[in-house]
Symmetry: C2
Subunit: 378 residues, 2 copies
């Protein structure tokens, strides 16, 4: 893990194109992407030219330097005055940015995703009125969407560890088992295997909860015949897996089989379509056709795919940002397929999700965890 000056140089070129004086990094994923490390409170400025600036409290400087003591990094410290330090650093960039033709009121880019709290953005805007604050997506998406081979390797390893967690969950799954017990043991198994933690809260949806779009630990224990959806997201060096499987606690009935079969066909068709140039909305449109052919059209929900990497849901994330439905896939993108739930309200739902790499031949799975209803049911 070293500081990635190659990525920093590419980001700086894109920043200049976008009229950005710099990117304010306050997120684990961008920080990790550039600096190869993570802190509890990552804070850095990537200026449009020159060395990156790491922000730390005074007492932290020796620790930061011990890990990242490169001459091309500046560490700014001041006790309890982080925001003032940041403002000062940007103010110093104003003149050079104007001279470089970035405009009278240059832009500061910032990630505006789930990890960026609204009150911090407001505070930042108030303290930096000479700049326009914008989303850093045009730079960061361009850099991060297509993965490097080492990134694909880390996602593959995370997905392998998710499989170990799923094995453990499956062993415990029987009437009377609780979501908390299953989640606790799966998490422990994955962390023992090297996961840092998970990128989402534990997701074990039992019975009627299997209809939910999002995951939680169901309060009611497993009952005979329940559908159970388990979605595991262990992280390795920040890269997160996304492995979901649906189990039947007992012998599947005809409706459950029908949901399984519809879902499997939808995933299979999506995988075949995952070639450069295909739009996100095309994947969902095909899924809809398949659900309709199975008589399940009323239950189809858009959102079969999302980008994944150092963030759990990254561009394209069409269920969060509607415009991402128009995104075209590119070779080298990594995507979770099987994101949506196919559920009959009040009865239960199915979701089987895996990671894939977009290639000219279609989606290449990063792992091969089984999905057949026979196996899952044992």
């Amino acid at each position: 893990m070293t500081v990635r000056f190659d990525r920093i140089a590419r980001a700086q070129a894109l920043m200049r194109e976008q009229g950005m004086v710099g990117i304010m990094i306050m997120n684990h994923d961008d920080y990790r992407y550039f600096f190869g490390r993570d802190w509890a409170q990552p804070r850095a400025i990537l200026p449009f030219e020159g060395p990156p600036v790491l922000i730390a409290f005074a007492g932290e400087e020796p620790a930061v330097r011990a890990y990242m003591g490169d001459s091309a990094i500046e560490v700014f410290t001041h006790v309890g005055q982080q925001m003032a330090v940041v403002t000062g650093a940007f103010r110093a960039l104003l003149g050079p940015a104007q001279a470089a033709g970035l405009g009278e009121k240059p832009r500061i880019g910032m990630q505006m995703w789930f990890e960026t709290p609204a009150f911090l953005v407001d505070m930042f805007r108030r303290m930096n009125p000479r700049f326009e604050l914008v989303a850093s997506d045009p730079v960061m998406d361009a850099l991060r969407m297509v993965k490097e081979p080492e990134e694909v390797d880390l996602l593959t390893e995370a997905q392998r560890i998710a499989g170990l967690g799923m094995d453990r969950a499956r062993d415990l799954l029987k009437p009377g088992a609780t979501a908390h017990e299953i989640g606790t043991e799966a998490l422990y198994t994955m962390m023992k295997a090297g996961a840092e933690g998970t990128s989402t809260p534990l997701h074990v949806n039992i019975g009627i909860d299997s209809c939910m779009i999002h995951g939680r630990m169901s309060p009611k224990p497993v009952e005979e015949g329940d559908l159970v959806v388990i979605d595991l997201t262990p992280q390795v060096e920040g890269y997160g897996a996304n492995l979901a499987r649906t189990f039947v606690a007992g012998k599947p009935d005809d409706t459950q089989r029908k949901l399984f079969e519809g879902y499997a066909e939808m995933v299979e068709a999506t995988r075949e379509m995952m070639k450069p140039g295909v739009r996100v909305r095309d994947l969902d449109a095909r899924g809809k056709e398949i659900c309709e052919a199975h008589g399940l059209g009323a239950y189809h929900l858009e959102g079969i795919s999302h980008g994944i990497g150092l963030r759990f849901e990254e561009t394209p994330a069409s269920t969060i940002i509607k415009q991402h439905r128009n995104f075209e896939l590119k070779a080298g993108m990594t995507m979770a397929i099987g994101h949506t739930i196919l559920a009959i309200p009040g009865l239960g739902g199915v979701r089987n999700e895996d990671l894939h790499l977009v290639t000219p031949d279609g989606g290449q799975p990063l792992s091969s965890y089984p999905t057949s209803i026979e196996l899952l049911n044992r």
Copy 2:
């Protein structure tokens, strides 16, 4: 766990005082506070009058009703159109709010804390231009800051579980042990004991990392003589513990003893001061005096305390919101004491943190986990 209509009624009275047409709830803590349950994606509207409105996707309605099927709750559902549903619900409240004298452009309250992403707030503002979006703090702080006895019980139970995790961590702490191993085992112990998870990422800061203000899992294993700061935050029904202890991996040297003694005196003095009417800044001022008396004044950092409950750091949180330094303590508030690090840059730091209830006699500890350097060192 039932819907807390008493709390809803109190919130509605406060909302009318604040000119709020309603509060948009998108956070686990507020949702749990009113509805006694949690979902992966909590979404509800608390209008200034009438029943609360829960937002769910169509397929989720039976599941939501199964847990909260009260006639005084409305469930709004629409596939994939959550934001439009919310906008419609607020628009329907506009006329009644104006008629009730809440102003021509009534306010919508929203929590603006770490869990509320900036892009969602922007999207919300764009879609609801006839309302003014404001922080819901004036209502929610007034309700939540002083705890009910059952809330104190849950915090106490969480803190007890943190003690079990700390026991496990202590057993593992010896040269060669890694933060990941210690964190994994402590987490598993706490979850087996009933914790839902933790309210913060795992915090095991080893050696030079013990100087850091914030926590992470250090990459370097424990070495003989290292200071190790472990901070555990297990949650029980959403209420989070905050138990931090500093250990010496070996025989403490004079500097380490000095840090321990200074810290212990600072915590003890703060505890005695935790009476109604005392300001947050007074606690820090006293801590500074003590550090100076110990010749550690240069290393004193403000931030000995923060409020705690359904959020890890809640009002008063003076290290995040500077104005909270002027906050006066009230009887019944719960606070973490021992939040700041006392560190000598490059050498190491000490932090011993416990939960306390503010009473007329001073801070009453919610647990009694030992802190003496002899015991910690064994």
